[in-house]
Subunit: 366 residues, 2 copies
């Protein structure tokens, strides 16, 4: 393999691919990035068997071929290159880089050891604006289960219908749901996608602000973002039938300004009992939400002006579930709908189109 390319292009491509190298696998060959030189193009691929990232750059290829380079070292090195033209020249297990008057050599692993990567072919697909896809992921993916007790709950359910895609994540204590319009779909379909893969998709910049196409086949999902393609395995198993969980009749319904609510809860968490459940008490009356918490360190009692369309209620929550949703919900005010101190509440935008819904379970008041 022998090719000439721009140093900045190379650094950027390596920086994208490195995100899929296998820090969590036991197969050391997956710590490498595969570079494939074909006429006019270098294609970089990395995988950890769950997530696969493939990205390509323009290059003058004078000798085709496929090699492996050590991922972390090559990424660190490429980031220190300063935009010159770089020549990549592979011979006898070594990749030689030439730039300016200088030369570096990297010991390379045998490319035959790299696994064959499964292709996503004969897939169904849907198209969505890139901005909507990013927003969908950011509003939902943080709510997946963080531990391994039920692997399916580390994924986000995507349900594609005629004109919308619905994303749902839940961890047993809360649920996040978001609906976005799609521009086309070849079929109705659903899939449970690892949240980590979705987060990488959401962090990856596309080449333009237009639509992206998402391909889904039996056990894989692929997203094409211009010169970069991300493929992820899907999680097997049945997702929780979430529709049954979300009630639609509530007695108390309050509207709360997000920014004030968030800082108040953050202060309350600092003084709540020093355990993971961060219990914070809400006393809801006609025009006030009283937020209180306490521990040996001290206690807090704050009042927020609200609009309440229902009876008074006292209820307690893990404040973290609210601060996390407030960080991503993207609206100025939310409506919280509640029934009793033992029933989950539902959180919706206070006005405008209802693209998200959160459900939060209360904690018992001592």
């Amino acid at each position: 393999m022998k090719a000439l390319c721009d140093g900045n292009d190379l650094a950027e491509a390596v920086g994208k691919a490195i995100k899929a190298t296998g820090s969590r696998t036991t197969n050391p060959v997956l710590e490498n990035i595969k570079i494939d030189a074909t006429p006019g193009t270098l294609t970089l691929t990395a995988t950890d068997n769950e997530l696969t990232i493939e990205t390509s750059i323009v290059a003058d290829v004078s000798r085709e071929g496929t090699i492996l380079v050590p991922g972390k070292l090559f990424n660190d090195f490429a980031r220190k290159l300063t935009g010159e033209r770089i020549e990549l020249d592979y011979a006898s297990d070594k990749l030689v880089l030439r730039y300016g008057d200088s030369i570096s050599e990297f010991s390379c692993a045998n490319v035959d050891e790299y696994p064959d990567l499964p292709m996503v072919t004969e897939a169904q697909s849907f198209a969505i604006s890139h901005a909507d896809l990013k927003d969908l992921i950011s509003k939902v993916a943080f709510s997946v289960c963080q531990d391994d007790t039920r692997p399916i709950l580390k994924g986000v359910l995507l349900e594609v219908e005629d004109e919308t895609v619905t994303a749902v994540a839940l961890d047993g204590y809360r649920l996040a749901k978001c609906v976005k319009p799609i521009t086309s779909a070849t079929a109705l379909m659903d899939a449970v996608v690892p949240a980590r893969s979705l987060n990488e998709i959401s962090r990856m910049d596309g080449e333009d602000d237009g639509n992206v196409t998402v391909f889904i086949q039996r056990n894989r999902l692929r997203v094409d973002l211009g010169h970069t393609t991300i493929t992820t395995v899907l999680l097997n198993g049945d997702f929780v039938p979430y529709r049954n969980i979300i009630r639609d009749r509530f007695e108390t319904e309050i509207t709360v300004p997000c920014e004030q609510f968030a800082v108040s809860l953050e202060r309350a968490m600092l003084l709540s009992r020093d355990d993971r459940s961060n219990p914070v008490r809400f006393d809801i009356t006609e025009r006030l939400l009283r937020i209180s918490s306490g521990s040996g360190m001290g206690n807090l009692d704050e009042k927020l002006p609200i609009v309440n369309k229902g009876p008074d209620l006292t209820i307690a929550f893990n404040a973290k579930y609210f601060t996390e949703l407030l960080r991503v919900c993207g609206v100025d005010a939310i409506t919280i709908k509640l029934n009793s101190p033992a029933d989950p509440c539902v959180v919706l935008p206070a006005s405008g189109s209802v693209d998200f819904l959160y459900l939060v379970l209360p904690v018992r008041i001592s």
Copy 2:
């Protein structure tokens, strides 16, 4: 104690004081910040017995008094206050904060347990521009010894003469020296100041860009920065007689562009043997500096155009010592003066006023 102050002022003052609370002491009372209310002023003080920071803000004080607040909690909490007027009201071991319609209470430790802080009085002093003091610290303090084998080497020697202050730090493998003009001095003096204290002084913003006064007495140094005062203990013992170490006759003298040199060395370090000494080889000829390094991972051979006023030389260094000095030296090009592969080199600015000097010991070439 009862006082009314601006929430942003309070948050800023707590954020300054917290830097001196004792994470490294075994005395838990030093995890607190002391707040002293006198007419018109709140003074916040924290210390870890080595470094003491005292800072004051304007307040309407209606009841004088001195209290302790838990440092970390109060800092986290103050950062979440949103600029309202805050009332501090202390009664029965609790500090009550009132802001807007809200109220929080903090359990407080007994102020009698807080140590008396030593005063710096009857001190000699010198005055220096704040910018020069910051520059002096940044160019020298990184070179102190990081381990505890010789405590005096964790300090920076300050030598005050009629018109200059000289700062020196060394760790057995390298030395950093910087000279800055002073605007006045009450006496000739010297002191060895813990680098950590100097770094906190350098990070602290003064209230204006003018001069700061540095007070030195037998075992303490104090810097007044407007409303903030930083006091540090001095290190006892004799500093290394550094003047003997710095030769003034060199055979080889090269001028190197800093930016190119730095990225070249960073690349070289990535491929140098994977140990802490980061050995990188310099082959100096008439117009070229060849930088090379190698390991099982690969090897590197880069060429930098230089001006050499002396004989050729091959020598090796721990590249980290150069990258660190290049990060702070603040010039476009440096002059490196060398003798033999076993003698330390000296690094100076290539042109302009010579305010810094670095000395770096070579490593043996295998």
